[in-house]
Each structure stands twice: as C-alpha cells, then as structure tokens.
Symmetry: C2
Subunit: 371 residues, 2 copies
Amino acid sequence: MQNGTVKDERLFNFSAGPCMLPVEVLQECQDHMMNWNGSGMGVMEMSHRGKEFVSIYNQTVSDLRDILQVPDSHSLFFMQGGATTQFASVPLNLLKEPSNAADYAVTGSWGDKAFKECQKYGKANKVCDTKSSNYTFIPPVSEWKVNPEASYLHYCANETIYGVEFKSTPDVGLPLVSDMSSNFCSKPIEVSKHTLIYAGIQKNLGPAGAAVVIADKACLGNAKSICPTLLDYKTMSDSESMYNTPPCWSIYVVGLMAKYLKEKGGLAFWKEWSEKKAKILYDAIDGSDGYFICPTAKDCRSNMNIPFRVGRGDEALEKKFLEEGKKHKLVTLSGHRTVGGCRASLYNGMPIEGVETLVSFMREFQEANPE
Amino acid sequence: MQNGTVKDERLFNFSAGPCMLPVEVLQECQDHMMNWNGSGMGVMEMSHRGKEFVSIYNQTVSDLRDILQVPDSHSLFFMQGGATTQFASVPLNLLKEPSNAADYAVTGSWGDKAFKECQKYGKANKVCDTKSSNYTFIPPVSEWKVNPEASYLHYCANETIYGVEFKSTPDVGLPLVSDMSSNFCSKPIEVSKHTLIYAGIQKNLGPAGAAVVIADKACLGNAKSICPTLLDYKTMSDSESMYNTPPCWSIYVVGLMAKYLKEKGGLAFWKEWSEKKAKILYDAIDGSDGYFICPTAKDCRSNMNIPFRVGRGDEALEKKFLEEGKKHKLVTLSGHRTVGGCRASLYNGMPIEGVETLVSFMREFQEANPE
C-alpha cells in the first residue's frame, strides 16, 4: 500500500480530462474496493439491480439534484458514450417536424462537432461561428442569426480546447440545449432555462465512462423511429439509467464526488474556488509583459481550461517549459494536439497548491529564459 | 483498510453480472488507486492520450488478442453502451443493399431484443424462435429458416436468463455475428468464422461500462449515413477506441483480467475450469431426484448461467432457500426478475469453493425441507 507518503508522490496533473480527483475520493474507492460498506463485495462486482447498488444510485442522483438544484420538472439520469454520443442523441430526440431544423452556436470545435452530427438527422443552422478568429471570443447573442422555426438552440457552455466559457445563459427564445461537459459542477447553473443539459463526467465529477443528462420531462417521448433504444431519453429516464447494465463504477465515483462537492459547500463554494484558482493563473499571464499570452477575449475566459503560449509563442521555449515543469511535479500541460502551445485545466480536483506551483515556476522560467 | 480478513468477509456472489472479480485483480486496483506504477496519478485521473494510459490500452489489446487468438484479419476495440447499443450498431453497420435484410436466431430474450432493434433499420427475419417452449433448447441449425439474401446471421452465444449456450459455431453460409457477452473469455472461440463478435465485459472480463468488439476489417466502412459517429465500427477501429474519451477505468480492469486469465493458462484452462464448476452444480441438480430442476435441454446447458427451481418449483421453498443461503455466504441467487426461481452464475471470478458451498447447502436444504 502506498498511503504513507502518497500525497507527496502525487503530481499536479493539469489534464483536460480525465483529470485529478480529490485524494479523499480516491481513498474511499481504495478502502472499499473489496468490500463496500460491509456488503461482502466490491462496487464493481455488484448486481446493478441489487439493493446495495440501487442505494448507491439513488443517493448519487439525490445529491446531484440537490447541488445542481434540479427542479421537479426535470429528470436526471446517466447515459454512456460521452458527449459525442449526445451529439447524435440530441437531434434524434429533439428535432421536430415540420422544420426538422436546429440552431447551433459554434464557439469551438466541440460545438462544431455537435453541429456536424446534427446534419445527419435534420437541417442544422449555425447562429454564429468563430472559427475564422480561432475560437477566441463569443459574439453577442443579439448578433446571432437565429432561425425561429428551429426545434432548439445548442451551445457548448465551455470549450475545452480554446478556453471559451459562457458567463450567462444565452436566451434566444428557443428551447435551450447545452453541452456542459467541461464546466459542469464548477458553478451553479440555471437548469430551468434549459430543455436539455448533458455533460461527460470526466472533468469535475469523476472518471470517464458516463454522461449526466438533465432533461425537461416535457421533451421526452419524441425520439425518431431510427433512434437506437439506448440513445432514447425517455427510455433512459423511465428506466432510471438501467434499461441495461449501467456503468456502475463510474456512477459510484460520481456519487462520491457529489457528496464531496456538497460537503465542501455546494456549487456556490466551487464557483468561488474556481474563480480564485483561475485568477491566480490569468493574473500571472497578464502580468508577464506579454511573455505568456492567453489569446482568449477577457469577457469569456474559461475558469476551467486556460490555454497559453510561452515566450511570446516560441515553440522551442514551450518545449523546454513543458520539460522543466515536470521537475516541479507539473504535468500534462501541453495544449490540445490540434492547437499546440500550453493549457492548464483547473477542475475541482486540482488543489490550489498546483496553481501556485505553476505560477511560481512560470516566473522562474521567464527570468531564466529572457527572449 | 480491510485486507487482513478480507477474504473471509467476502460473499459468494452468484450475480449474472456485474459479478465477482478475482481478489488478485481487486488488490491491484486497490494498491494503485492513487499512484499507478509510480506515475504520480491514479488510472481514473490519467489523460487517455498520455503515455501512461496508452501503454495500459496497448497491453490490454495485446493480451486480449493473444488469449482470444484474434487473427490479423480482425480488429479488436472497445465501445460504450453494452450489448444493447450493439443491437443497433450491428444493423447500422452491416445491413447491405439491396436486401437490407438480416437473419436472427432467437434462443432467448437477448436474441429477441437484438432482433427487434434490427427492425428499426431493415428487414429482420427469425431463423428460429424458441419462446413458445420458454427458451429451453436450441433447434438444430439444419432446421433454421435461413434467408440466403440476408446480410448476416446473428446469434447470442449464451443466453444469460435461460442458461442456453451454443456448444459450437453455427455455420449457415452467411456472415456470422455473435453476441458473446455472457460467455466471452470462458473458453476459446473461433474468431475467424465470424464477421463480428461483441461482448459486454461485465461478466468474465471486468466491471460494467464497456463492450469489446472484434470485427473483420473487411466489414468496416459501410455504416449507414444515419449511424451515430460513435456507433460506427470503422471510426472506433481507426481511432483505436479513442475517437472520444474511452471508459478508461473499465478498460484498465479488463487489462488486469486479461493478464490474470493469461497467467493462469489462457482460455483452454478457463474452459476446463468452467466445465468443472458447472458439472458440480448440474450433477447436484440432476442427482436430487427432481427436488431441484434445471429446465434447459442437456445438450445446450450453459456453463455460465444455471437456472434452477427448488422443491419442484415451490415458490415458498424457493424464498426460504434464497433467505437461508445468505447464512452460508451464498447471495444473488434469484432468477432473473422476468422468470423467477433461482440462478447461479459461475463466471471466471467465482471460486470453486463458492460452487462447493452452494451444492453442500442444497443437499442440507433438501434434507431439512422434504416435500
């Protein structure tokens, strides 16, 4: 066992997801691996229909509904396949005749992927697309080219790759659908303004392998006949995520995370905490006389994913920065493989010491490597 | 920590899946929870594109290919959504024009569900259906009503609920597709005779949350335009299961299981072992003068799932049997909720002591509760 000095041995892992989880949560997974709560079996071994796992499931849903303040009008359940499967589920369930059309705000590559998947099933319209400016800002909602006949408007609440985050709920008079994968449970959200919210859990809420879906019950039951059964929101809502065997372990860890987030003070606390961590890093970038550069417009800078360039974008210096960072326990700081540079993801599991160590290393690096 | 007496505290859990895993595998999960292999992070926290997880993934695929003897003609990868999602993926990827038709051997309720999902996408034909005799036997292949125009023939290699198992590969001159969820990795299989094999892993191979797919490379690239991207076999094969974030933890545990199965002697060993465990229980049932009854025809009795009635089908006695069994550490012995009675599932994780304890309790119970 490695508990003695485990905290010292652990690295500051800035991965965009899967990502660091709190030591308290990992400890609980470890302690109950072979025998959960005296049941004589581990969570991975339990029948999903047995009383032990059903109690885990119910508590998880209850805690999540509580911290997210999900109203009775909305159902909360789990699905598999991450946000990418949701890109198909959304149009398969929510496109309506006669328009069979949907609006998409494209403020990054995830929004663009959702848009493209919709094209398989109906008429997808972009209300905005910031690709030509490298996805660095969000155009004002008043400028969006909305189709009033659209069945819904889809937006990605936080673009992981470019670090662009909506700071308020965009209201355009259409049913709202949001991909909240990468800032879910980092702050309170306005559930009742949304017809549908979905989020892959592998950021602020657990390991990979499940997505949380929150659906207005009024939107259920309208899936197209070609919708695979397991992608039908009504099927999954009615069966409480158990039409077939759900990803039990992932749901269990989400339950531990939900309990942990709640005990620390709920999403109001985590919002403050995320803002505090992000501010430390943004201040360091903005105070570096342009040595470090974050390209994202200030009014939509993400508190979760912070892309930045080193040495005014000098690739050799960036490589050196990533290499030397490892000596300070700073790892997984590369930018997304499609954009390069660096990126620090500051999800709920990233301790403030991680951000402080990063900022202190940045100052050292700049001094030692003047341009 | 609970390692001191953990083996004594653990129950014999006969769940049809998720189900018991070997203590050695759980121990490894436990030991590396916070720090895998000195990497400074747990497996749930790793970027799926980092060198640590990629090494886990590659070793897992390599060990699985090795024990299953997958030829170079076939690709092996992971998908999410269990066998139920595969019920849709199969017709979405494999139905071919002009017939757009497929054959299904329905020898239990899983085969029937696969058949029904296919009807969404094309013409599904039942070559046999044993529902009227409660799915207790498999009709000879020579009697199957095969459609020579069908794109493929689908069969369920082992029906979990009714305990009906194919003892050889059914050859009907069509491309073969098999749902092997509940006997996968319990014995060697003839991969090259199949166009496609899929299996939810939560039986002999790990926790819930992933399915293994083995596809003849020649069948890839023909998905219908309405196929969700994540259900497209070519997309998942080309991206080595990582078009998006895969269910990393589930894949990791599959890797540990594959290593364990290999070290113990490979699938030839596990076949012998499964047959031995199943024989102990079938012999006890058949030697009980009809007190215990297994309704399944002897030539297709499953080595994995053994349904049986107690006291010639007396429901009050069955309830008592299930209740008293718990005092002997025998749990999750209820039959599937749709059929009642009892069922013992004897997957790779079930130790022989579990079967011996069950059989010994059965004898005691019969003596103490004569009809």
